[in-house]
């Protein structure tokens, strides 16, 4: 039963995890993107559509990432070039994307695809307990796991990461060294949208093999919240996303136990548990909000 819940954690947590890593990149550069939900939806639809047309899920991944990037580009333009409020813009883009994808997605609702399927890793998947939990997933899930240490390394051990973080902390340093902070932020928001889009593809092409309007159902918003609770650290955001997935699996398992707990309460459990656990983690350390982001959260306009 515990193995089932942990397997479920990876299964349903991966899309959220990818989106939260993307949001993390964007926020490290000082731009909060509430439109992540919209980028996920665009990715889910774009990836599904291209998989339908070409029969190749890998092309779907590319398309989904691109669609996510397009949605993020709208956000970047409005916020960085026009100086619009980041929070209001992100929310608006989220609802815009829900409508947009519902409209263009109509004919894909009944379509069938050969998407990604679980590929057991030889030998490793035979390890009792751990094998089934970690080594029997779709290729996108493996890639997403590999992404987290890479992202950490790039953020904290490479010049690229220093530049990105400087854009979110001390943009005058970038100016001094001849780098345009606005450009860095643009690229960070686009990269974030791309990852959120791939998260959407994981949901539509790998996990459910389906497209339905508004199928992300708030997963993108959860991803944004996770990043802040995870103090902008990739590994913590990953844990948070898996915890969210585990809680979803847990509530389904509890339902099957027949315990007298209201199902409506159980529906809240993923959100409550994620909230509680990350709060506990957060309490122990001082917050490390990127300063540019702090200004946004404190009510200054972005840009």
């Amino acid at each position: 039963m515990i193995a089932d819940i942990l397997t479920g954690a990876l299964r349903s947590g991966t899309s959220v995890m990818l989106a939260s890593q993307g949001e993390l990149v964007s926020e490290r550069a000082g731009v909060i993107n509430l439109g992540t939900e919209g980028a996920m939806l665009a990715g889910a639809l774009g990836g599904f559509a291209v998989t339908v047309w070409t029969g190749n899920p890998w092309l779907g991944v590319l398309a989904g990432g691109f669609c996510g990037m397009l949605i993020a580009a709208i956000h970047a333009f409005l916020v960085l070039t026009c100086g619009a409020n980041q929070l209001a813009t992100g929310l608006t883009i989220m609802f815009f994307a829900i409508g947009l994808t519902s409209f263009f997605g109509r004919e894909f609702v009944s379509q069938r695809i050969v998407g990604f399927n679980p590929v057991p890793i030889p030998l490793l998947s035979d390890i009792p307990f751990v094998g089934g939990i970690l080594f029997n997933h779709d290729p996108l899930t493996y890639l997403s796991i590999a992404l987290v240490p890479c992202l950490w390394y790039a953020l904290f051990r490479k010049r690229l990461g220093v530049i990105l973080r400087a854009a979110g902390e001390r943009e005058e340093v970038l100016f001094a060294s001849g780098i345009n902070p606005k450009l860095v932020r643009y690229l960070a928001v686009l990269a974030g949208g791309c990852l959120a889009g791939v998260g959407g593809v994981q949901l539509s092409v790998a996990f459910t093999h389906s497209w339905v309007e508004n199928m992300t159902q708030g997963r993108g918003v959860v991803a944004v919240a996770l990043v802040i609770f995870a103090s902008w650290k990739p590994a913590r955001a990953m844990l948070g996303a898996y915890l969210f997935g585990a809680a979803q699996a847990l509530q389904l398992t509890v339902q099957q136990m027949g315990w007298p707990i209201s199902t409506f309460f159980l529906f809240m459990v993923p959100y409550l548990l994620t909230l509680a656990a990350l709060l506990v983690v957060e309490r122990r350390k001082q917050s490390v909000t990127p300063e540019a982001l702090g200004k946004v959260l404190a009510g200054d306009t972005g840009g």
Partner: protein, 392 residues
Amino acid sequence: MKRRVWIKANQWIACALTIAVLMAGCSQPGGGGGASAPGAADTESASGGTAAPGTGGTAVGFIFVGTKDDHGYNQAAYIGSEAVEKAYPDLKVLRAENVPETAEAERVMEQMIRDGAKIIFPTSYGHLDPALNVAKRHPDVAFFHQGGLKTAENLGTYFGTIWEPIYLAGVAAGKMSKTGKLGYVVSVPIPQVLLNVNAFQLGARSVNPNATTSVVFTGSWCDPGQQANAANSLIDAGVDVITQHQDCTKTIIETAERRGVMSVGYHTDASELAPNGWLTGSSWNWSDLFVDMVKVAVNGEFKGSKYDGKYRGMLKDDIVQLANFGANVPDDVKALVEEKKAALIDGTLHPFAGPVKDQTGNVRIAEGELPTLDELEATDYLVEGVIGNIPK
């Protein structure tokens, strides 16, 4: 400074999570529909007060809660609307998909009436209250609501006893299951849903006394992510036949097929989605009924017809059907199910013939008793052998 920022951050995280919860709960985006205020049409209807409801229109309106291609509930109703279109080429068929079960539905219906509709089909359970409001304002318009328990002067409801084919599908599932563990992915705890779960379990238990049905609520009519979670969770727990009460059925059937377990469909024949695991399913056959209802209304015979109250079509009326058997269902199972189907049709078999016990062992339908349709449609319990709770 840092502290202040953090408090601010907290505030909006709370806000973000609230949005997430709201969005998870609200499965349908606002779609379709006219943009004008509901009050605008009130004056127009005054003239039609004396005409028989449903007569004199130039259009028929259909509103759906989802999309027409959902391999499910809405697709079945949509096919019915196509039959009306074919039978009445003079009447324009107006359709609105993705209409939420809110006041938005009222606006869509008002718009359809302005566009000449005198007959309206609100096809989702939650469209009933908006339809009742609109019906009160337009006594000259006939309403046929799908699945409702309340009626009005010019609003009748229709539905089918889908629990009959579900019972038969339960028989097939009980016979085919190796583990004796069946799974039912359901949406929200309304009587219709509970009734179907009960019928399935009673069918399975009639051929396998040890069969159990695990019920999982998703809280939504169509959330593929949650559906895939639910199906995987049931399969992990040893369930080898999965069925569902959802509006879109594709994700669960395909997930079951990929994981090598059997599935029983709902709403439409989706055997093409699961060439290996498809057993059978229950489906709606609205076409002839919709055409007949439109005929009655157009002729001005709505009042006093069988459709002005609660009409329930049965297996014997061919309103509800048992879907085709899958390729891997052996002949003896098919024969057994067909035999029970014949008995249901000629009335010698009733799935809910007493005694029927609930989960706690209390007798809900006494020995020798047959519940009425009204009693069945008010089901508020799960029968013995169903595992899971009714959310309260």
